[in-house]
Amino acid sequence: MDEIDKQIINALQDGFPICDAPYRQVASHLGLTEQNLIIRLKALLDNGTLTRFGPLYNAEQMGGALTLAAVKAPIERFDEITEIINSFPEVAHNYARNHELNMWFVLATQTPEQIQQTINEIEQQTGLTVYNMPKNKEYFVSLKLEA
């Protein structure tokens, strides 16, 4: 990743225009050619520096539901619990964290009711209590990180 890549990453976190030739427009601000921007963007996606490029949809605005949930996975069953929880398509992210509640995952479902159903199924399959922590209120969300 060089300086130009960093500029591209920073610029593209701010948004992307909806117009006929948006790459050309962004490229001209960065002093690049359209083709160069597209090639670099593709490389950043291919090598995993960017996990995504495109519209970021708000699931809740589409009638879907999200929640954050956690379990206390016994160390000797950690891999097994990981496998069970990851097998649910509703699980979008799953992180190990350094706490007694050591596995934290995000559920995304089509309807609010499916959140509870999925939690019930995870509890049944793992035998663990799922601590459901849906947001009561969102104060701020921004994914911008300076490259």
């Binding site: 490029f53 519209p55 970021l56 922590m133 911008k144």
Partner: protein
């Protein structure tokens, strides 16, 4: 919740994996979907205005940008002060997400969650101290949970796609902290 028609849903589905990397991406989408370019652009603008699309842009991998210290800071603050404090904490430039979430007493007393990101432990410690100072006497207890491993990361797929094909799991769990 906002009403979406079939055409909107087709556009959402076609762009879940990302925007085409072609010089005229909206035209490319239009051709794929049998729509006009204007229709695609108008509908995507409308979805952006209504908040269905939070933004169009790039999502970097934190770790690849050097942000290896990603802490979920959690705080126990009085319920009557949480909205005011949550707004303030959310405005700190190093906080990427800030939420009010329910407590699970007695073992989980925390109701304010703020994600912080830094390139070193010292940087994150400083950020945490700043939140600590900001909350003052309203801080009844806190903890910081660092992620030690990404076990799964598929990103959010919208509902239509989820129903069809399920989520794409990451191939291998990735260790992210030293």
């Amino acid at each position: 919740m906002i009403d979406l028609d079939e055409t909107d849903r087709k556009i959402i589905q076609a762009t879940q994996a990302g925007l085409p990397l072609t010089p005229q991406p909206y035209q490319t989408l239009a051709e794929q979907l049998g729509l006009t370019t204007d229709d695609v652009m108008l509908r995507m603008s409308a979805m952006q205005n209504s908040g269905i699309i939070r933004r169009i842009g790039a999502v970097p991998n934190h770790y690849r940008l050097g942000y290896r210290f990603n802490g979920m800071t959690v705080w126990n603050v009085p319920d009557e002060t949480i909205d005011e404090l949550g707004q303030k904490v959310g405005q700190l430039e190093f906080v990427s997400h800030c939420y009010h979430r329910p407590r699970h007493l007695p073992e989980w007393p925390y109701n304010l969650f703020a994600m912080v990101h830094g390139k070193s432990q010292e940087e994150v410690d400083k950020q945490i101290r700043q939140i600590y100072d900001l909350l003052g006497d309203n801080n009844l207890g806190s903890d910081v949970l660092y992620s030690t491993k990404i076990l799964k990361k598929t990103g959010f797929r919208t509902t239509t796609r989820m129903q069809e094909s399920g989520c794409r799991a990451s191939e291998n769990p990735t260790t992210i902290n030293p």
